[in-house]
Symmetry: C2
Subunit: 322 residues, 2 copies
């Protein structure tokens, strides 16, 4: 007899659990010290409530029905539940809200593969602080939280979630073409993207811009290629890059104009966390200024989430290298 | 617009979350210090795998389907998943296994009410130590863990999960009558139990025994009423009472021969944790010597689980009284 567990889930034994707790406690302590009070929301939410935040996010979860046949989902991220929480419980608070969380989330590994996964997240949301000021606080917070749990060589990829859409709009692409290009970009398939753009005889900026990756020179090159298109995004991104550099993080930054996130609610800066010891992102986040208004008073917001197990693997790999 | 959350679930804001973490960290530290290494299992399990442990436990959870139409459930307790984990991953280990856990579980509030609930548990399982020795270790562990997180007046109700079934068997009751009496007892409906026994002209021991509650005198009275029936259970219970008394816990013990648990896998001692500041149990557990063998090598086992939120409420109430 075998007793399987669902694909994408796992059992954790005591030695690893002790290390995961150390990572989690380190991250949570950093967030708490920076004034981010931890909240907890239900593991299961009504599907139509999550859909209010983002249809794609609601669809990414595991589904079940309650006793009245109402559709429930296992939460696929914490940002939408926290937007709901702020709208319903903290809506009357003025001034910035700093909230953090830790807990399980459930998501499709690859869209359409049917493969689902349960993972442990720690994250933070800064609500009520707009633009570069808010973005810089969140990015600094996560860099320092990763340092506090023992990482030394971690870096941040910085992009803008609205930039490529602005480019698509500027060239007045048909929806079909725009969707196809966006899909290639979301799969980080820059070769496929270039082939599609060339085959359709579209402007080369549509594959050259998302291929730009590196230091501040990336922004100069993008300005040449894009002109007035997405000028706001580029100005914001330069401002964020300058602000983070002035805080001493210059060496950790990688501008990446091809960085987009799958979830639809990002409206400005987006970022991903990396460590050279491992080949996958440790987490990511970005600015979502339209989300809070869907559950209450419109407020600018920016957040970040880390995959605790990925951080743990990076930390262990870094330790081996010392 | 309102944005409800499923009944039986809740949002937790930072002040309460900080206190819940303090309770959880205190409990977890106690268990870890006593040698109980923490494990984690998936939030969602296959329904037929949980059913291998106990049909009732599997049915108590929230249900969903995977992409192949296979039935999944949100775990309703951690004991069966840990039995599965031990059978599949730790089966070759000899000697006692001491495991602990913390995490969410999902259960019907009242069977058949359709009302479901998500709750946070911390618990421990001692595998491979039989009888009074194992029971006393687990009960001592949980008394001390509650003391470590600030409770002062907590107590333990002690009963035997097999005792009433032995009584029913001894009087050779029809299954129908036996089920009806068992159902009354599970709902702690001693008045209904007495009425049923009297109406059916059954022996009075069937309602007098489960009404026995108090000090060691309870066991003398039960011996008079039951004679040879359930003699083993009474000897074990007396042994556990003596052992815990010799460890200095005499003042905390309440023998309760009507204590039965809903889950079917208990085979010996059962217990519940109380605090006089609150009107509900903080948690409970017991001996389940038949469960491990359903997933691998048969081994005696005993475990306990605490509801973290209930412990927190008791702790806060105790603090107010000081």
């Amino acid at each position: 007899m075998t007793f399987p567990i669902p694909p994408g889930t796992r059992d954790v034994l005591p030695d690893e659990m002790r290390e995961l707790h150390a990572v989690m406690d380190g991250l949570r302590a950093s967030l708490e010290q920076a004034g981010y009070g931890e909240v907890r929301t239900p593991t299961v939410e009504y599907e139509d409530v999550l859909r209010q935040g983002d249809a794609r996010a609601a669809g990414a979860g595991w589904r079940l029905f309650d006793e009245h046949g109402r559709l429930l989902v296992l939460r696929s991220d914490m940002t939408i539940p926290i937007a709901r929480l702020v709208g319903t419980r903290l809506g009357d608070q003025d001034g910035p809200l700093r909230l953090s969380y830790s807990g399980q989330a459930f998501r499709s590994v690859t869209r359409g593969s049917g493969q689902l996964t349960e993972f442990l997240q720690v994250g933070a949301e800064l609500i009520g602080v707009a633009g570069v000021e808010g973005d810089a606080e969140i990015v600094s917070l996560v860099i320092e939280a990763l340092s506090a749990c023992g990482l030394r060589r971690h870096s941040v990829g910085l992009g803008d979630g609205a930039l490529y859409r602005a480019l698509l709009a500027a060239f007045e692409l048909a929806d079909e073409d725009a969707d196809a290009l966006m899909a290639s970009l979301m799969h980080r398939d820059l070769v496929g993207l270039e082939q599609r753009v060339r085959a359709a005889g579209l402007p080369e900026a549509l594959y050259v811009v998302p291929g730009l990756r590196g230091g501040a020179g990336v922004l100069d090159r993008a300005e040449e290629l894009m002109g007035e298109v997405a000028a706001t995004a580029l100005i914001e991104l330069r401002g964020l890059h300058d602000e983070l550099s002035s805080r001493g993080f210059a060496d950790r930054l990688i501008l990446d104009l091809g960085l987009v996130h799958e979830l639809g609610y990002y409206t400005g800066a987006v970022f991903e966390l990396y460590d050279p010891a491992v080949g996958f992102a440790l987490g990511g986040g970005g600015r979502y200024d339209q989300l809070m208004g869907r559950f209450g008073k419109p407020r600018p917001a920016c957040g970040v989430a880390l995959n605790v197990q990925n951080v743990h693997i990076a930390q262990a790999a870094e330790e081996k290298m010392r």
